[in-house]
């Protein structure tokens, strides 16, 4: 089984797929989904046992490679990466991008392996659970994610809430899910499709950084980078692995959160990372060791992020329901090749299933550490360039990245507008990442609420009648209680209290 995977074509597909994913993921504006979509014409001519592992390699490495933008320029590659962008950027400035990306890559590898193990041993069972999720459960999942996002803003949940509300507001631009009514389009046809959250991320994080440096001039130029001790392999592999061993229960918890939230079709991957990082921030042990706490938050987010990559395949393989846009593309390839996903796939095509499992293991054990190290080395060279030169190039990448998504001029203006909004928000001490979370979860929240309300004829008690929905509602209450307690504890110890967030301006 899986012998075709170890043929020269299979290995070439894995290695080239990983390289392709690393390049795509590292460039702002280019996503894992786009990388997989552009690969389809090639996949059509390949044997499925070669094509599908290549897609897994692309997506696994690209999801991690999105952290390169976070480390270098505070531009997250995915909404899930936005959950820990400030921590990764700070760690990369203080301790070097090789160490920061090492924690991300090693955490992603271990989290991805845990997700793969669960995929192998419990795919059918978890898929049966996913089939029980209806609009009521999706509503509460979205509420849980948004609530976690509020308290993930550190000591200023009120400002986190405002950022979240802004994101939810941006998500209402376009056609509404109930009547198909155009909202906030102001007569511009392109806005009927809504605002793209990738464009928003580029503007909020990348272009705003350019504007920040333009405003402050040389006074805001990055200081001399600290001298980093230790060879690159030590910083990328050994120190992060020691951190993982020390924080093994944190990694396991975060990976499990990533899997159990990530396997929900269409909803989970981004929420998992937010819940993990928020939980870590709310339960941080000590105010005195913020450096160590940043490492833990990064580890929580990275391991959750990649665990959800594997778990998104659970409903796809077991039920034929795509877990995310990438698995939606994969299901299309299945149909092209005459393969029917679902429970019988495990019996009719076991070699394909095992090839997929093996690929997940290889991607997490070999490809991520290999390409992660290469991209980290490249990042450590780039970060030594003068910041004002680097920022001028980042401005170009922001423009091209925003335009390339939809080939739409308006996206460039939206990107610039978001950059300006982020610049103003930083003046007020508002976090940025919650805006992205609101834009991603807003449509899910509104659609699931309206569908549920209409189904139940506006009987609000119906939101609490189903056991899983009730459980998720209670989990939301727990997050609020823990979050409020953690905020009060930080205020008593003198931290938080609306203080500037890591990496934010005053």
């Amino acid at each position: 089984m899986g012998t075709e995977l170890f043929s020269w074509q299979g290995l070439a597909a894995l290695l080239l797929g990983g390289l392709y994913g690393a390049v795509f993921g590292a460039i702002p504006g280019l996503t894992a989904t786009l990388a997989v979509a552009l690969f389809i014409p090639i996949a059509f001519f390949l044997d499925p046992i070669i094509a599908l592992p290549a897609i897994i390699a692309i997506s696994s490495v690209a999801i991690f490679a999105g952290d390169v933008g976070s480390a270098l320029a505070r531009i997250p590659g995915t909404p899930a990466s936005a959950a820990y962008v400030e921590e990764l950027y700070d760690i990369s400035r203080r301790r070097g991008p090789v160490y920061g990306l090492g924690v991300s890559a090693m955490g992603s590898s271990v989290g991805g392996l845990i997700g793969t193990v669960l995929l192998i041993f419990s795919a059918t069972g978890l898929a049966a659970l996913a089939a029980k999720f209806a609009s009521f459960e999706y509503f509460w999942i979205a509420v849980l994610g948004l609530t976690a996002g509020v308290f993930a803003s550190g000591g200023a949940p009120l400002k986190g809430l405002v950022s979240l509300l802004l994101g939810l507001l941006f998500a209402t631009v376009g056609v509404d899910p109930t009547l198909g009514y155009a909202r906030f389009d102001f007569g511009i046809p392109t806005l009927l499709g809504g605002l793209d959250y990738i464009v928003a991320m580029i503007g909020l994080f990348g272009f705003s950084e350019v504007l920040e440096h333009l405003y402050h001039g040389n006074r805001h130029a990055a200081g001399v980078l600290p001298r980093i001790r230790g060879a690159a392999p030590l910083q990328f592999y050994i120190r992060p692995l020691r951190l993982i061993l020390r924080e093994k229960w944190l990694v396991l918890r975060s990976a499990l959160i990533g899997v159990f939230v990530g396997f929900l079709p269409g909803a989970g991957a981004d929420v998992g990372a937010w819940v993990s990082t928020s939980f870590q921030k709310m339960t941080r042990r000590s105010e005195a060791h913020l450096d160590d706490e940043q490492d833990r938050v990064l580890l929580a987010g990275a391991s959750s992020n990649n665990a959800s990559v594997a778990s998104a395949w659970i409903p796809a393989l077991s039920l034929g329901l795509p877990g995310d846009t990438i698995t939606a593309i994969v299901l299309g390839i299945f149909l092209m090749k005459g393969i029917t996903p679902g429970p019988l796939l495990f019996e009719t095509n076991p070699s394909l299933i095992w090839a997929l499992y093996l690929t997940f293991v290889l991607a997490n054990v070999l490809l991520l550490p290999l390409y992660g190290f290469l991209t980290a080395r490249l990042a450590s060279t780039l970060v030594r360039a003068p910041s004002n030169v680097l920022l001028s190039v980042i401005a170009v990448v922001c423009v091209v990245g925003a335009y390339a998504i939809n080939n739409n001029t308006l996206d460039v203006w939206v990107m610039a507008g978001m950059g300006m909004i982020a610049f103003l928000m930083r003046r007020g001490g508002f976090p940025m990442a919650q805006v992205v979370l609101g834009m991603v979860l807003g449509p899910i929240l509104e659609r699931s609420f309206m569908v549920s309300a209409i189904k139940s004829r506006w009987n609000m008690l119906a939101f609490f009648e189903r056991p899983i929905a009730l459980g998720l509602a209670l989990a939301t209450v727990v997050v609020i209680v823990v979050g409020v307690k953690a905020t009060r504890r930080r205020r008593h110890t003198g931290a938080g209290n609306g203080a500037p967030l890591p990496g934010g301006s005053d």
Binding site: V23, F24, L30, L38, L158, K159, L161, V162, L165, L166, L168, L169, T172, D176, T178, L179, Y181, R183, F184, V210, L211, L214, Y215, H216, G217, N218, P386, N388, V389, L391, S392, V393, A395, V396, V397, C398, V399, V400, Y403, A404, N407, T409, V412, M415, A416, G419, M420, F423, R427, G428, G429, F430, L445, E446, F449, M450, A453, I454, W458, G498
Partner: protein, 142 residues
């Protein structure tokens, strides 16, 4: 002061969204329609704005809130950076994608204080490289 200004902007934005959303149609039998969520968000912004105003007033009494002092030269550079990006579609139409990207890079580099000796080759190099990577290597049309 910044918290007070933030609070004021939030309340004004919330109020504006509330009233604008009131023009959206409703579902049959009077049930809320497309205006429901924008109004919930507007209410949240309005109430958060009030909370920020209260917080800002408390911080001012304790003299903890930072006072904003705009930097005129910085505002000019900021406006310049925004303008050059907003003009990208026009620049692209006039000079082509590569040249437009190079001009953006050059303008931002110059405003950030990079010498022309470094800025010009960086601009040319980044314009060409970004164009080649996206258009030729990755086949993403620009």
């Amino acid at each position: 002061m910044r918290t007070l200004i933030s609070g004021l902007l939030c309340t004004l934005l919330g109020a504006a969204i509330w009233f604008y959303s009131g023009t959206f149609p409703e579902l049959p039998e009077g049930y809320p329609g497309p205006g429901l969520f924008p109004r919930i968000i507007a209410a949240g912004l309005f109430l958060s704005g009030l909370a920020l105003l209260a917080q800002g007033a408390r911080l001012r009494r304790q003299r903890e809130d930072a006072v904003l002092r705009p930097v005129p030269a910085g505002l000019l550079r900021l406006a310049g950076g925004l303008l050059v990006v907003v003009l990208y579609p026009w620049l692209k139409g006039v000079s082509g994608t590569m040249a437009a990207l190079a001009l953006i890079c050059l303008a931002v580099a110059w405003m950030l204080g990079v010498s022309l000796r470094v800025a010009v080759p960086t601009a040319i190099g980044s314009g060409v490289l970004v164009y080649l990577v996206f258009s030729e290597l990755l086949r993403v049309p620009l």
